[in-house]
Amino acid sequence: MSLYVLCFILFAIGIYCLLVKKNLVKKVVGLGIAEYAINLFFILLGYRPGAEAPILDPNRVITDFVDPLPQALILTSIVIGLGVTALMVAIVVRLYEKYKTFDIDEIRRLRG
């Protein structure tokens, strides 16, 4: 149970970084932290103490294995996270080329 709480604390750190920090690169890193906290939470949901990885082995029969469904879901989530991060970094690079800064307070033309 305490591991789940730690996952939510990590998620809260990511959201805090996303909302409070002024630097755009730090915002990207914050969203990455939040995303990996969610991934960790789902993997922990499928975890069982003392269980093995759900891989077929020709030499022996594995009866006690962890839940493979969250792992398959999170593999897709990691791929989507890669795409989202690449898109955000591309937009930040374009903003830096246009405004020569990462600080969102200095990017004024987007206002009003």
Partner: protein, 163 residues
Amino acid sequence: MSLIVKRITRITVSLIFLFGVYIVMHGHLTPGGGFAGGVIIALSFIHLVLAFGKEEALKRLKESTVSIVESIGGLMFLGIALLGLFGGYFFLNILAKGKPFHLFSSGIIILCNIAIFLKVGAGLFAIFIALAVFRMPVSDNEEAGSNPKGIGPEDTFKRGPKK
């Protein structure tokens, strides 16, 4: 980069590439598969860009080649899926299954892994070179509109929206 990085890179890049090929080929037997192997192989090319600069890496793998390989990966996956229509339905595994736990078994899954590997590896390397190497030129419209007579960005709103 320094001489040490270049020497080590020349040794390790082929090993990283080989490890990626191993991950792809054993995707139906062990953990891994097309996505993980594709990421590892893309990282071997990114390693080249970081050590030798963009010219050396783009000489081995041009950006047009990357685009073509990525498209081939997607079309190959679609073709494998449509191949199942000959046997009955979409994604039917019509090839010989072989014996379990052997390298050439499981029918079309190994071909699907190779298609995904082409798509992911080429796509990830294309993302990297698009972000790191190419600089988009600032268009004339933005150049003229942003600063005609030393007017700062703050004054844009007063002059109304730009066309």
